[in-house]
Symmetry: D2
Subunit: 310 residues, 4 copies
């Protein structure tokens, strides 16, 4: 009945080494199958992957017919693709994860539609007694500036009270669930009572109950997920998963991740009106190109804002 991945199964999966002519990524092979913990009972495991940074370049070169080049040029091409919103080469990499996550997190996650999912079914099987309880540092009041964020953290006494209420209800709901199921394998099985069908017994469980799934997506759509869910506006709990996945992805496709950071995550979008403000402020200013901006980007940037490139 245990819903984590048995140690023996992970060890066995990791022990199985084959030869392949496919591209491999040593850093990802090193952590394949292992569980990375997140929240109180959750985890993420990499089950399989397809492609690497070079696969992005390879696909782009089919399209754009650029001859095979050196590694430094691969990085430049990846940055070019990201900068100009070319998404299809990033779709050529794929990753498959096994995650255990609270149902309320799963409900946000599943809104990313371009992905493949196989979720544990509580119509077929019995859910474990595992539910998410926030750490005290996460117990905050409603933000006043923002309709969906968190404000100040509760004081210790109030936090303790909240945790007590959440835990108490979750435990009670789970006890009811087992009681309704009245499973013959249960120690408390009552032979005089008929169990309720699993698909109904579960409806009283709380949204904090853990579920699990296999989730598979391509790198372009994974970046879309990370952009929204590793963002400070995302709810802390799904952000914890997104940040863990982000760490994994950086080991898998470092050059693509670097480009994604520079041109998406840490980029700033100026509205038409804001761009005008910057243009008015900078026109005629003399500036020297910083080292981390390429000559081509610098010439585009300085031309756009009327900067005198020195």
């Amino acid at each position: 009945m245990t819903r984590g991945t048995p140690k023996a199964e992970i060890t066995a999966a990791r022990a199985h080494i084959s030869e392949t002519r496919r591209p491999t990524v040593a850093a990802l092979e090193a952590i394949l199958q292992t569980e990375h913990r997140v929240l109180d009972h959750g985890f993420v495991r990499v089950i399989d992957y397809m492609g690497d940074d070079a696969a992005v370049v390879q696909a782009a070169r089919v399209s754009y017919g650029r001859g095979t080049k050196k590694i430094s040029e691969d990085r430049a091409l990846i940055r070019y693709l990201m900068r100009h919103w070319h998404s299809t080469p990033f779709e050529m990499c794929e990753i498959k994860l096994h995650a255990k996550l609270p149902i309320f997190v799963a409900r946000q996650w599943v809104r990313h539609r371009t992905a493949n999912i196989n979720e544990y079914s509580a119509r077929y099987s019995i859910l474990d007694r595992e539910f998410y309880t926030p750490a005290p540092a996460q117990l905050a009041s409603q933000a006043t500036t923002n309709r969906q964020g968190r404000g100040a953290v509760l004081d210790d006494e109030q936090a303790a009270h909240v945790l007590h209420l959440l835990r108490d209800d979750a435990e009670r709901s789970y006890a009811t669930y087992r009681r309704l199921l009245n499973d013959p394998d249960d120690p408390d099985h009552d032979a005089d009572r008929t169990g309720l069908t699993r698909e109904l017994a579960r409806i009283g469980l709380s949204l904090s109950t853990y579920t699990q799934w296999y989730w598979k997506t391509d790198l372009h759509n994974l970046f879309g997920f990370l952009r929204l869910r590793a963002d400070p506006h995302a709810q802390f709990e799904i952000r914890a998963y997104a940040e863990l996945i982000w760490d994994i992805v950086r080991q898998w496709v470092p050059a693509s991740c670097e480009a994604f950071e520079d041109y998406r995550m840490n980029a700033v979008s100026l509205s038409a009106a804001e761009a005008d403000v910057v243009r008015q402020a900078l026109t005629g200013t003399a500036m020297t190109r910083p080292r981390n901006i390429s000559p081509r980007e610098w010439s585009e940037f300085s031309a756009r804002f009327g900067i005198i490139a020195t």
Copy 2:
């Protein structure tokens, strides 16, 4: 705080009549905006639609270049398209529904990925005190022949006990939710206590809590939804929604629905081995074409199974 659609809003929406050059379907206009009840607190409303049976034909004729024909030929063309798995003409019709549904139903529904969804957000807003309680006739034991179905209905006493437990937990969880929120607008508001942020206060709510959404999809994908969810193997609760939607769709595109019934819902798929059995049994049999099978289909059918068409 009420989450049903206010009567006044429905009346106002229905009162607003405009002229349009678009195709309209009188039977659907007659029920536009009105709430069709389902389960104990759920509903489905048609908000908008695009196209009709003729729009399917029109799109098919762009592809296949058949000249404009009579209504009877439209029906025949729709049946031909359905029979031969031509899906794109059915994608040319679109419908937008507003539904209120228990969260565990929403979790099954959302697995149909080719659809557009805007769901009520419990990060922004407070959920109503509404949760699904099954009718006693729905309280069944686990099926023994099938890992995901329902078996015999519980006796009255056991059913009453189950309902008591489900209601009690759901009410307790909801009371905790309101207590955690400690919303200033609540009559029980406690000014000495800080409320918990909405996005956390909700995590203890039960899966039977009602949510709501706008859901928009095309007719081809809607048929895919109905095929799986109006099927006897679907869980009763989502089937209740699917059957209600099926009634609506039949009023919208009757010819497409008739074809869908004959070639999908009530069709039978024989495996290669089963088809061999039928072939061996029927080869050489003499049979007359039934009236509800077209000459062309009859000749294909009788040839396939070695029947002597008389």
Copy 3:
């Protein structure tokens, strides 16, 4: 055999006026069914639509639970959604177009996958003698700065030569096509010769041959199409379609289009490094909020770049 939409059919379609309880957009009703010409033989017609600016707002309010507000607040909400990359409310509007376009344009267009298409089939039907010939002003040399753009326009003599070659080959290929088909309805039909099947006879036609299709998509994906295809980097020919569609869309959902222009089309994305440059240049500068930036956006903008808001 004519492949444009017969005048009589358009007139009949436009003459058919019904009453509807759905939202309608007068400006779009006024041009429904009519052909908007583009390139030498192409056109775009609006066949049907679902929703309007208010439908975007309505869907967003289901999600975010904001009470019904005034028109000015609708506009502000639409701008907020666009600014914060909320895509699902824009998916609640749908449009269906009939377009006639050269095959090489169709090949670029079809890469936008989240759309429904029914294309004229040259396996079923015979294509018209219509192929795209560029206007002389479009005949340019290869750009030297850019591997995919156009450079200087050819001089008159060279342009005439190019047009002669393109026309001559297209006409010859089309004559071969008809000769291969040897269609009994053709005036040149040769009774002594067997025609070649349509699906093969067409393979020698040029990529400039016109095809046509019904194309249906939602507003969010349509914006994605416009962002790439109404961009100066898009090939002139598909841009001509995108710009025409943009004019149509602005009549349909003006508030959404205004937001799309300000936060996408005319927005500027600064990379992390470029944002640093602007920050260094502007920190400590005193500036007054321009009228076309809202107080909230101004406070975010000035805080981001260290501007002293005055």
Copy 4:
């Protein structure tokens, strides 16, 4: 300028062998990177893959919680999944192909939208002088029974004439293309003339011209592609690709392919009316279960048609 994959590149790619903890399929590794020829100049190469038959089972068991079982039970589970239209476990396998194909084939292929594509761009690069010429055995007249099929094969003399016309036009169009480009690297380069931009020079090329792409999709969607394109109603040329891919897929996931053959490709769908005919004919018939039908399927089958199982 050659557009096939250079032998040296294939040899180098194949020589690179790594160790991996991912599932591998020996039969597929053996043909990885190699070119499988199709039509006169086309090919298909497997570039990468993710998963195997066991990955389908593994994903299904997350959903349905069945314990790990023996190989024979894996096969039975895969057959169960296919029979009951469970698609998500098959989405857990992914394959990436490199194909070279005529443009008119690419236009049919790209209609399968749930796939990732990077196509060679004739805006960036120059196309090779390669176009499809049908083999004489493929030159058939239009089918008379079917608006989109092929009828009798042309006689030798007529075939020779057709081939002459097709080749002549394709060669002429290609010569015009090179002449318009006037590429400095061409032996015929004319220094006195400006070349036409690549994106326009190509528009006169014929639909038989070869293009190439990387195409990546999951096993469920690949089965959808094969179901339509390996079907006798598909045009011969795309069927040639589908049949080649089918051979590859059978080496990759043999158990899934066997199930796909039995429950999709070689299955027969009876309409509601046809199922009634079979039911009337077979009710009361006594039959013994054939060995290739499982007891469970036999009991469902015989019950459905009123057969007395002996």
